[in-house]
Amino acid sequence: MNWSKYSAPQAFYPLAGRLIPWFAVVAVALMGVGLYMGFFVAPTDFQQGESYRIIFVHVPAAWMSMFLYVVMAIWAGVGMGLNARLSFMMAQAIAPTGAMFTFLALLTGAMWGKPTWGAWWVWDARLTSELILLFQYAGVMLLRTSIDDMRRADRSSAVFSLVGVVNVPIIYFSVQWWNTLHQGASVSMSTGSKMAATMLMAMLIMTVAFWLYSIAVILARVRCIVVERDSLPVWDEKLAVIQEAVEAR
C-alpha cells in the first residue's frame, strides 16, 4: 500500500474523516474510565487529602502541552524539509490544542496550589516555564494570523516553532536553577513511581485519553484547514451527494 499518497491534502481529507470517530470514541471511553478510577477508586492521599485528585487532569495536561509543542515543531521541520503542505497544516492544527492543554495545566495547577500551597500562583520553576510555553504557543499562532500570504505564514511560524524547541529546555533549566517550590517528579523513568498503583494507572489512562482526544481534534481541525485553504467543497460529502444524484438518474 502506498502511504505517501496521504501526504496530499485531498487524499488525507477522507482518511482523517474516517479516523476521527474511532479516536474520539476511545478517548471519551478512556476519559470516563480514568476519571472514575481517579475520583472513586484511587485512595485518598494521607498528606493532601482529596485535593490531590486534580492531578489526574493536571499531570496529563502538562505532559501533553510539552509533547504537543515538540510534535508541532517536528511537523514544522518536516514541512520545511520536504516542502509538504500537509505538514504545515498539521503544525497549524496542533497549536490551539497545545495551547489549550497548557492553559488547562496552569488552571488546574492554580486550583491545586490554593489548598496545598495556600496561593493561586507562585513563581516556581515549572509554573513559570509552563507559562512561557503558553506565550510561545501564542507567538506561533499570532505570527501565523498576522501574515496574509499562506506560504510565508507557514514557513515563518515553522522557523519560530523550531527556535522555540531549542529554547524550551533552556527556559526549563534556567527557571529550575532560579527557583523551585514545585514538588519533585513523582513519576520517573529511572527510579519508578512513588505513587499507589491505582493512582498511576488512572493517570496513565487519562494521558492516553488526552492523547487520543488530541489526535481526534487535530484531525478535525486539519480537515477544516484543508477546506478553508483550498476553498474547495467538502469533498467526500459533496461527492457522495453528487454520486447519489447521478445514480438516481
Binding site: 505570527l143 515563518s156 522557523v159 529554547n167 533552556i170 534556567s174 536553577w177 532560579w178
Partner: protein, 227 residues
C-alpha cells in the same frame, strides 16, 4: 570564495550600518534615553527607600536593557528590506548567515554597547556599588549581544508584517527569559555574597549558543520574507 572576500563583505556590512547610524544619530540616542527614563521611573513608582531599590535594582536594570534592545530591533532589517538592500545581500556569493551576523554586531554596537557603558551610572542610582556594579556591567556585556542575536530572528520573521512592532515583542520576549534570569541572577548573586560566576558562565554559554544558531535561523527567516 576565499576567506578575505567573506571578511570584506562582513566588515563592509558593519561599516555601512555604522555609517547609516552616524547619519541618523537620534535613532541610536533614543534607545539609550529610553533606558534611562524607564530605569528612573521605577524609584518614582516604588518609593525611594535605598534597601528596596537595591533589591529590585538588578532586575529593573536588566528588564530596562531588554526593552531598550527590543525597541531598537525594527532598525536591524526594516530599512534594508524596504529599499531592497536586503535582497542584494541574499544574492551576493557570501553566505547570508555571515552577513546577518555582521548586521547584528553593528546593531549591538549601536544599541547594546551604549547600554553597557551607561549601566554603572544607572546602577549607582539604585545604590549598587563595588563588586555588584562590576558584575552588572560584565553581565550586560555578555548578555546584550545575546539579546541582539535572538532579537534578530524575531525582527526577520516580522519583516513587512502588519502590527510588526507588537508582534516582535510577543515573539522575542519569551525567548529572552533565560538571559534575563542569568543576567539579573549574576548581580543578585554577587550582592548576596555567593558570587556571580556561575550565572556569568551561563550567560557566556548562551552567547556562544546564540552566535552559533541565531544567524542561521535569521537567514532562513529573511529568505522566507523575501520570497
Amino acid at each position: 570564495m576565499n576567506r578575505s572576500s567573506m571578511w570584506e563583505a562582513v566588515s563592509g556590512v558593519v561599516k555601512r550600518d555604522l555609517l547609516l547610524a552616524m547619519r541618523r544619530r537620534s535613532d541610536a540616542a533614543m534607545s539609550v534615553f529610553f533606558l534611562v527614563i524607564v530605569a528612573s521611573l521605577f524609584p518614582l513608582g516604588v518609593g525611594p527607600e535605598p534597601a528596596v531599590l537595591k533589591t529590585i535594582g538588578p532586575g529593573v536594570l536588566w528588564v530596562a536593557a531588554l526593552l531598550a534592545c527590543l525597541l531598537s530591533l525594527s532598525r536591524v532589517f526594516t530599512a534594508d528590506y524596504v529599499d531592497g538592500a536586503l535582497e542584494q545581500m541574499v544574492l551576493v556569493p557570501q553566505p547570508l548567515a555571515v552577513l546577518v551576523a555582521g548586521k547584528v554586531f553593528a546593531h549591538w554596537l549601536i544599541s547594546g554597547l551604549p547600554v553597557v557603558l551607561l549601566s554603572p551610572l544607572l546602577g549607582l542610582q539604585f545604590g549598587l556599588d563595588g563588586e555588584p556594579l562590576g558584575v552588572l556591567v560584565l553581565s550586560l556585556l555578555l548578555g546584550t549581544p545575546t539579546l541582539s542575536m535572538i532579537g534578530a530572528i524575531g525582527a526577520a520573521l516580522v519583516l513587512g508584517v502588519r502590527g510588526s512592532g507588537l508582534l516582535v515583542a510577543l515573539l522575542v520576549l519569551p525567548l529572552y527569559v533565560p538571559v534575563l534570569i542569568f543576567g539579573a541572577g549574576a548581580v543578585t548573586g554577587s550582592m548576596a555574597g555567593v558570587g556571580g560566576e556561575a550565572n556569568l558562565s551561563l550567560l557566556g554559554a548562551s552567547l556562544v549558543l546564540s552566535l552559533f544558531l541565531a544567524p542561521w535561523a535569521t537567514a532562513a527567516a529573511i529568505r522566507i520574507a523575501l520570497e
